[in-house]
Amino acid sequence: MSAEQAAGVTLTGISKTFGDFTAVQPMDLSIPQGSFFALLGASGCGKTTTLRMIAGLEQPTAGRVMLGDRDVTSLPPHRRPVNTVFQSYALFPHLSVQDNVAFGLRRRGKKQVHKEVEDVLELVELGPLARRKPAQLSGGQQQRVALARAIVNRPEVLLLDEPLGALDLKLRRQMQLELKRIQTEVGITFVHVTHDQEEAMTMADTIAVMNHGRVEQLGAPAELYESPGSAFVANFLGQSNLIAAEISAAEGDELVLRAGDTKLTLPRDRMRATSAASGTKVLAGIRPEKIAIRSRSDEAAVPEGHNRLTGTIKDASFTGVSTQYVVASPWCPELAVFAQNVESAAGLTPGAEVVLHWNPAHTFGLDGDQDADAGTGEDAL
């Protein structure tokens, strides 16, 4: 996030405590104006609480909320130029679609709201349903009413609390595109909460990954994905293979790691652990789609300089677009490999001996003290 961009929302040392439970740890966060900002994190990590503090629906225990240059910490929600799209939409069941949409405008004393309501319903493609009650709409339509109801007010910031959580997969993908389109059209700052990482990556300009009440990492989607800063981020944002290893040597721009009896190379600038001294324990990470898989018989074709591992296919599952392999190698029992289905891969069936290899530039190094399973979802159960 570059400093020259005007800040849409700035949180300074903000925290929230319920009784003796701290839902949000003191944190600073600055959301650039006009950006599509995603707050990503597991259930219960404090996303909603953060959003509610911005909306004024929750009073922060400490810290300040600024909108642009204005301190709004003590303003009640109805005095903040901020609107929210709630997860369950919270549409007023007794009002028609157009009255729902006009609600905010009317509260601000506007008399002639017809034109604006019409326009925004046009924007979300709901013009013909203006007179229906929310109960007469499908999930996707309700979602769009909730959106229209918020953006018609032209708030400085629009908060979206998992607005797509209740939709089914197909509809959800479609609404994502819609949302993105609308954001581009209206240019309002969107702060979008989700725990769907794919959603966050496709939609947001900037993602903040939250874990247990604090922001673990913040950056552009590709940046976060390619260079995660912690095991949690690596696992939560997409899938990662994290191999426990030890630094054995540093060679110029590269670090040489040892995992079992295998040597792995890691660019020094992709090493996130604090120390790079020999003997330091690290987790060597590699994304499943970066790994090429080929039959052991085909080993000769592995390019020079690639990191390589050998193993046995434990499971291969066809997902249409790609095939996902689980490979067992002696010191890493479950390596995931994604192979896009272009030509059918002969011989890569469970039980086959394979060699995995990848460009060392894609390896990333993490502090070895972490739980390699953090953020995989195993801990969420």
Binding site: H78, V82, F86, R108
Partner: protein
């Protein structure tokens, strides 16, 4: 398209299993379930109404007995002689209903949204007074409102009694034996009938709607006016009906807390039935009261636009 061609239209073939018996046992189940309750209500609710209807057009005397003479004059007589009672009943009941709404709403709201884990305790508190007999409690009111009591003293000192007296609600610096006492008694007695339906419809409101309204620039008062209240309307309608209807027929409050000037139609029916033993007049009055209530309720429900009462 797959090769799954639709077979010929579903005519049951010879070897196909028989379709479920049309209308069999399952169709009758609801009727069996309803039978006892409906029978009970028919015999002890509908049939009595019929008897009363026939009684209402009888004539005769308590000494000689009454017989069916299609004496419609019972109705006109009752109407003309007790017009004042009818009017008073409707007015007092309406006033009490309004008061119940005003007093009961905050309590129902508090139980629904602000009570936390005290919710159930508070709900019990609302129903528990029923267990102390209604009469005991009304007698307690007589005690509280007593002329020499502290309440009258306090209100008098605040000159509030002068205000109510100018409004014609009280008399001579006293509360007992005034319209106000009767209305307050009615309000008190039927308050739980207002609170319970209000509570159940308030409780159903998603709290996120309040937040959504605040988020859309509504002040707390506007949130209430535009969201909470409209959404609680089914409860308001049910509550007002459950209060208004019994209140309009009550006689205990008027009898214990009122003066001759505050007697309601219930008192008249009760006295005609139990003391004067003029059953036809009592029956005619009952039917007139029923008709009045039916009209009022129908108009009211139309206006409130709620069909779903319970």
């Amino acid at each position: 398209m797959t090769a799954l061609a639709p077979p010929p239209p579903a005519a049951p073939e010879a070897d196909a299993p028989p379709p479920p018996p049309p209308g069999g046992r399952r169709k009758l189940t609801p009727y069996w379930l309803l039978l006892p309750a409906i029978l009970w209500l028919l015999v002890f609710f509908a049939v009595p109404m019929f008897f009363q209807a026939s009684t209402s057009v009888q004539s005769g005397s308590s000494g000689e007995g009454y017989e069916l003479t299609w004496h419609w004059a019972n109705y006109t007589d009752a109407m003309s002689e007790y017009a004042e009672h009818f009017g008073r009943s409707i007015m007092y009941a309406a006033a009490a209903t309004l008061l119940c709404l005003v007093i009961g709403y905050p309590l129902a709201y508090m139980i629904a949204f602000r009570a936390g884990r005290w919710r159930n305790v508070l709900l019990v508190m609302v129903i528990a007074p029923f267990f102390t007999s209604f009469l005991i409690r009304t007698l307690a009111w007589k005690h509280i409102l007593s002329d020499g009591g502290p309440l009258v003293g306090a209100l008098d000192a605040l000159h509030l009694l002068d205000v109510t007296a100018t409004l014609g609600m009280t008399e001579d610096d006293r509360l007992l034996a005034t319209p106000l006492a009767v209305i307050c008694g009615l309000t008190y007695n039927f308050l739980p009938f207002m609170i319970l339906p209000l509570y159940s419809s308030l409780e159903r409101i998603n709290p996120a709607l309040h937040e959504a309204a605040q988020d859309l620039y509504a002040k707390p008062a506007t949130v209430f006016r535009k969201v909470t209240f409209p959404l609680s309307l089914p409860g308001v309608v049910a509550g007002t009906l459950l209060t208004f209807i019994p209140a309009s027929g009550d006689y205990i409050n008027a009898k214990l807390l009122g003066s001759p000037g505050e007697q309601m139609i219930g008192n008249a029916i009760q006295r005609q039935f139990l003391n004067v033993r003029d059953y036809p007049t009592a029956a005619a009055m009952s039917f007139l009261l029923m008709a009045a209530i039916l009209i009022i309720v129908t108009v009211y429900i139309r206006r409130a636009g709620t069909e779903e009462l319970v």
